[in-house]
Amino acid sequence: MDPADIIEEHVADVAIIGAGLAGLMAARVIAAAGRSVVVLEARGRVGGKTYTRLAADGTPIDLGGQWIGPTQDHIEALALDLGLKTFPTYDTGENIEIRQGERHQYTGAIPTADPQVAMATVEMLLELNLMAQQVPLATPWTAHDAASWDAQTVQHWMESHVQDSAVRILLTQVVRAVFSVEPRDLSLLHFLFYVHSAGNLNQLVSVTRGAQERRFYEGAQTLANRIADALGDRVLLDAPVRMISQDDMGVRIDAGDTLVTAQRAILAMAPTLAGRIRYHPPLPARRDQLTQRMPMGTVIKVQCLYPTAFWRAAGLSGQVLSDEDALGLTFDNSPPSGQPGILLGFMEGDAGRQWSDSDPATRRALVLTTLEKFFGPAAAIPTEYFEQIWAREEFSRGGYAGFMPPGVWTSFGADLLTPCGRLHWAGTETSPIWNGYMEGAIRSGERAADEVLAALT
């Protein structure tokens, strides 16, 4: 970099790259410890994969991460500290299941219209939960069956262990809903690690008593906004980092017209994003290879606003699980008042891949046709429409999180957390607890901050 190009130069104890929840939490902890910190954020906003916009009437619309649930204690504590309150996700009435050409209504996390299928589903979930408990959260690659589980995809396991086609469909939908990928993409070991990391599959897929239980009144991005507000001018926006150099003296971070020098740096981002930065000296081979092997899931999040949550009067919860529609999963995402009524839908995995680059009008028409099929003609006429295509976000590259295909945990697992000289790693992908969730991001920021504080001179 030509010194003449530098407009801003900052010196701090710690530089943090990424102002999502992980990076901001790390900065909060480091600042609270009395050390100086600078956060560099590529986007013109903070929050990472939490992103809240406002509808015309001011209703917060979460276009990214939005839910918290039981055992997510760190985000709960943070919210309390920031004065942010939550409300329960609407979970009353019957859910709709469309499977193998038939429409059923049911209540609860598991479709029970066919008791035989439901029984086989419960048995499968129990088996997977018990397998998941065998995965050590800090070192998944040391599980007794790690070699075998990491050599196969969830699809492979499903084909050899699940006989009933309806149960296979349900597991496929679970994988899409939780990871936004297909079962063929995902290492069985990573799936089991992730399940254990959240507690169990029931918690992952449930609304009440599960990961989708509550939402923030003001939107989930408010967490990041409030932390950033407190950090003030220590958060630098529109500063995409191009290169990181390190030597015995410290680290030097080049973000275009901004230069930051620090003792240590925390890279608080998905591994694949860290792979887009140049390093001097280059990253160790294993770490660099890891960044090539943790792709992001593919999800499009769509929300349609209506004057009221009209489906509630029909006894419907707003939750749909469909095996024949690109918009395969929906929820009632209305505010507590039910006004406006908001239907939230996801296109995940293959559907996300098929529709991410399509013409917006065609995609919108597909969404509305699908919602009309689920909820009737009123669903075809929203007053407002929001969509977020995470795979088209340059500084996210997808969502919900980076995942591991087969072979990655057992070959590179130890490199996920190991600092590279003065560079430390944060991001929800590095968390042993609630990996992939906002809770995991916050925990990873706290852990990385503790790591760095212990290393500072």
Binding site: T71, D91, T92, G93, N95, T107, G108, A109, I110, T112, P115, Q116, A118, M119, V122, E123, L125, L126, N129, Q133, G199, N200, L201, N202, Q203, S206, V207, T208, R209, S317
Partner: protein, 121 residues
Amino acid sequence: MATPDELRAALDDYIAEARKIARVQKALHGWHCVIAIEAIDNAASFTLTIKGAEVAVATGSPATADVILRGTSEDLANIFWCDANPASNYMQGAIKILGSPDDSMRLDAMALMIYLETQQA
């Protein structure tokens, strides 16, 4: 509201059902858990002890419980009589399960399996 005697009778029926169902017995295998069942509206309490697929019930609270299952006597009775789906949106909110995620998951699985089996019968 269900009386304590009615709740106990429902629980006895429930346990008898659990013992009859091979798939439930398989699911319980290897699980050791003491469950306190508490009705919030009539102070009835029971202890369900699960040890390696053996299930026993006693009136009164255990000295220490791994899991506490708490709800109104009517909601609890509806579950034990298999009149209500324990995994329903309503029951998930109405019945509180306090305990580790692992124990809660096992209890959920057992309850849903017993319910589903009775639906098929």
